[in-house]
C-alpha cells in the first residue's frame, strides 16, 4: 500500500497555543483511518490544516505526491480531498440539487465568457452537471428531495447530503468530522454500514474523526490518537483500545481524582 496523504512535522500555532505540534502522519491508499482524542485535542484543526482552511505554521503536507501546504482550500479540494464539517455547513438557502452541483461544478470547464453568454458549450456542461448530480442524489435516495431547500431537510438527511456533496467532488480522500454527532447508538451503527458501503462503492480513502467508539472500532483499519495536538498512540483498533496512554487521556489517572 502506498501513502495517499502524509504530514511531516506539521505544526500550527494560535498565538501561544500549539494546536498541532510536530505531527507526522501517514494515510495509506484505501484505508479507513480513525482520529480520536479528547475534546480540544486538535482533531478539527488537523482537518482545517489538511484542507487548507488554515495554513500550517511549519511542516509539510504531501497529498497524492504533491505538496499542498499553502494552497487555497478550493485548489486542494479540486486535487481530490473532500470533507464534511462537525457542525453541518450546507448551503441552507439553496436547493439540495444546487448543493451537490456546486461541488460538481469544480470539474466543469467553462470560462466566464462562456457562462455570461450561455454558449451552446456552456449549456451542454450545465446539462451534464444536472444529470450527474441527480444521478448521485438518486443513489443516496435524495433524488425526490432535489428541489427542496437544504436547510429544510431533517437532521439525518442533512448529514447524508453533506456526504453526498463531498462525493460530488469525486474525491480520492474523504475527511469526515464527527459524522455521527447527535446520533443514538443504533443510528450510529446504521451510519457505520452506510460509510462502509460508500468506502467500497467510491473506492475512497477515509479519515474519520469520531467520538462514538463503537463505530470507530468497527469501521477503522487503523486509529491515531491525539492529545493536546500531539500524537500519543496509534495502531490497530485493539492495540489502541489496550494502550494505557489512551485510557489515561480519556479517563484521567487515578491521581487526578480528588
Amino acid at each position: 500500500m502506498s501513502a495517499l496523504l502524509q504530514t511531516r512535522n506539521l505544526t500550527r500555532q494560535f498565538g501561544g497555543l500549539r494546536a498541532i505540534g510536530d505531527l507526522s502522519l501517514t494515510v495509506d491508499r484505501g484505508e479507513i483511518l480513525g482520529v480520536i482524542g479528547p475534546n480540544g485535542a486538535g482533531k478539527t484543526t488537523l482537518f482545517n490544516l489538511l484542507t487548507g482552511i488554515y495554513p500550517p505554521s511549519s511542516g509539510e503536507i504531501l497529498f497524492d505526491g504533491i505538496s499542498i501546504a499553502g494552497l487555497r482550500p478550493s485548489e486542494i479540494a479540486r486535487h481530490g480531498m473532500a470533507r464534511t464539517f462537525q457542525n453541518i455547513r450546507l448551503f441552507r438557502q439553496l436547493s439540495v440539487l444546487e448543493n451537490v452541483r456546486i461541488a460538481y461544478d469544480s470539474q466543469i470547464v467553462c470560462s466566464p465568457p462562456d457562462a455570461l453568454l450561455r454558449t451552446p458549450r456552456a449549456r451542454l456542461r450545465e446539462k451534464e452537471s444536472i444529470n450527474a448530480s441527480l444521478e448521485l442524489l438518486d443513489l443516496f435516495q435524495l433524488g425526490s428531495l432535489a428541489e427542496d431547500r437544504a436547510g429544510d431537510l431533517s437532521y439525518g438527511a442533512q448529514r447524508r447530503l453533506e456526504i453526498v456533496r463531498a462525493l460530488a467532488l469525486k474525491p480520492s480522500l474523504l475527511l469526515l468530522d464527527e459524522p455521527a454527532a447527535g446520533m443514538n447508538p443504533s443510528e450510529a451503527m446504521q451510519l457505520t454500514d452506510f460509510l462502509r458501503w460508500v468506502h467500497g462503492k467510491f473506492s475512497l480513502t477515509i479519515v474519520l474523526i469520531e467520538h462514538h467508539m463503537q463505530m470507530v472500532m468497527a469501521l477503522c483499519d487503523r486509529i491515531e490518537v491525539l492529545e493536546f495536538g500531539v500524537r500519543i498512540a496509534g495502531g490497530k483498533p485493539e492495540e489502541v483500545k489496550a494502550n494505557p496512554r489512551v485510557i489515561e487521556a480519556y479517563l484521567g489517572t487515578e491521581g487526578d481524582l480528588p
Binding site: 484542507t51 487548507g52 482552511i53 487555497r72 482550500p73 478550493s74 479540494a77 479540486r78 473532500a82 470533507r83 464539517f85 455547513r89 450546507l90 448551503f91 441552507r92 438557502q93 439553496l94 440539487l97 444546487e98 452541483r101 456546486i102 461541488a103 461544478d105 469544480s106 466543469i108 467553462c110 466566464p112 457562462a115 455570461l116 453568454l117 450561455r118 456552456a122 449549456r123 456542461r125 450545465e126 446539462k127 452537471s129 444536472i130 444529470n131 441527480l134 444521478e135 438518486d138 433524488g143 425526490s144 432535489a146 428541489e147 456533496r165 463531498a166 467532488l169
Partner: protein
C-alpha cells in the same frame, strides 16, 4: 427548440414596439422619460443585486461605477467624437462606459477577497467618495459643474435593448457554475472553498459584471438627462438603487424588475405630494422589512425567467418523474 424561440420572438416584438412607439405619438415625452428611467433603474437594480443579493455582500458604491460609465461615454460623445454618426457612436460609447466601470470593478473585487460584510461596505463607500471627489477635481470634464450639452441619444428602444441585455447576461451568470459559486459564497464562504469553489474568481466575476452594467446604466443616464455632474452620483443615488433591490427582492431577477419599476413609477406618482413623498417610500420600506425581509420576490424567481434545460429521464417511480417535471417547467 420552440420554447427557446418564443421568448426570443417576444423580445424582438418588444424591441420593435419600443422603436416605433415614440413615432406613433401615443406616448408623450414625459411618458417616454419614465419608460427610459424604469429601464435604466432596472439595469442598476439587477446589477447591484448580483453583489448585494446573490453574493450577500453590501455594496454602497454602485453610483460610483455608474458615474464612471456616464463620464466615460460622455467624453466620447461630447469631447472626442462630437461629429461621428450617432447610430454607430452611441452603442460604442455605452460599451466603453461599461468597460471603464467594469475595469474599476477589478480593484474593488480584489479588496473583497480579504474583507466582507461591514468592512467591504466601508470600502465601497470609500470607492464612491474617491470617484466623486476625483471627478470634482478634473477640469477636463467640468469639475464640480459637470458636463453640459450631452446629446440626447438614449431612446426608449436603446434603453429597452440594454435592459434586456443586462437581464439576459446576469441570468446566464446566475444560472451557471459561477452564479452557483456566488450564491455559495453568500451561504457559507468556507464551505464553498472546501467544495472547490474558486471564491476569488467568483467574486471578481460578480464585481466586474455588476460594475460593467452600472457603467452601461450610467451611460444611458447621461444621454437621457443631457447633463451630469459629480453630485448626481452621490451616496443618495446608491441608496436609491439599494431601496429598489431590497424592495423588489434580493437574489431575484423578477424582483429587480419589480423593484425598479415600482420605485420609479411610485416616485413619479407621488410628485404632487411634494416633500411628503419622502415619507411614503421609506415607510413602505420599513413595513416591507418587518414582514418580508427578503423583499417582494426574495430568493425566488418566475419560471419564465429561468433557463430551461432538458433533463435525462431517470426511469424511477412515478413520484420521481413528477419531480423531474418540477425541475423542467
Amino acid at each position: 427548440m420552440k420554447s427557446r424561440l418564443l421568448p426570443l420572438g417576444l423580445l424582438l416584438v418588444g424591441l420593435i414596439v419600443a422603436a416605433i412607439l415614440p413615432a406613433t405619438g401615443l406616448v408623450n415625452d414625459y411618458l417616454q422619460f419614465v419608460l427610459i428611467s424604469v429601464a435604466i433603474n432596472a439595469i442598476l437594480c439587477v446589477s447591484l443585486n448580483l453583489v448585494n443579493g446573490w453574493m450577500g455582500e453590501f455594496s454602497v458604491g454602485h453610483a460610483g461605477f455608474m458615474a464612471l460609465g456616464a463620464y466615460a461615454s460622455s467624453i466620447l460623445t461630447v469631447k472626442l467624437f462630437p461629429t461621428a454618426p450617432t447610430a454607430l457612436l452611441f452603442p460604442v460609447a455605452v460599451l466603453i462606459g461599461g468597460g471603464v466601470a467594469g475595469l474599476a470593478g477589478i480593484p474593488v473585487g480584489i479588496l473583497s477577497f480579504k474583507t466582507r460584510g461591514d468592512y467591504l461596505a466601508i470600502i465601497t463607500l470609500a470607492f464612491l467618495m474617491i470617484v466623486k471627489s476625483g471627478l470634482e477635481n478634473i477640469p477636463y470634464t467640468g469639475g464640480p459643474r459637470g458636463m453640459l450639452g450631452i446629446p440626447r441619444l438614449t431612446t426608449v428602444a436603446w434603453a429597452y435593448f440594454w435592459c434586456v441585455v443586462a437581464f439576459w447576461v446576469i441570468r446566464n451568470l446566475v444560472y451557471s457554475k459561477y452564479g452557483r459559486g456566488i450564491s455559495a459564497i453568500r451561504e457559507d464562504e468556507i464551505a464553498a472553498e472546501a467544495m472547490g469553489v474558486n471564491t476569488r474568481q467568483a467574486k471578481l466575476v460578480a464585481f466586474v459584471t455588476s460594475s460593467f452594467f452600472a457603467g452601461v446604466a450610467g451611460a444611458l443616464f447621461a444621454h437621457q438627462l443631457q447633463f451630469i455632474n459629480p453630485s448626481s452620483f452621490d451616496i443618495l443615488k446608491s441608496t436609491e438603487i439599494l431601496v429598489m433591490v431590497y424592495l423588489g427582492g434580493v437574489a431575484s431577477l423578477g424582483g429587480s424588475l419589480l423593484g425598479a419599476g415600482f420605485v420609479t413609477i411610485l416616485t413619479q406618482c407621488l410628485q404632487p405630494l411634494g416633500t411628503w413623498r419622502m415619507v411614503v417610500l421609506p415607510s413602505l420600506l420599513v413595513i416591507l422589512m418587518l414582514f418580508r425581509p427578503g423583499g417582494i420576490m426574495g430568493y425566488r424567481d418566475w419560471s419564465w425567467l429561468k433557463p430551461r434545460l432538458s433533463i435525462k429521464p431517470r426511469g424511477k417511480s412515478s413520484e420521481e418523474s413528477q419531480e423531474q417535471e418540477k425541475i423542467t417547467p
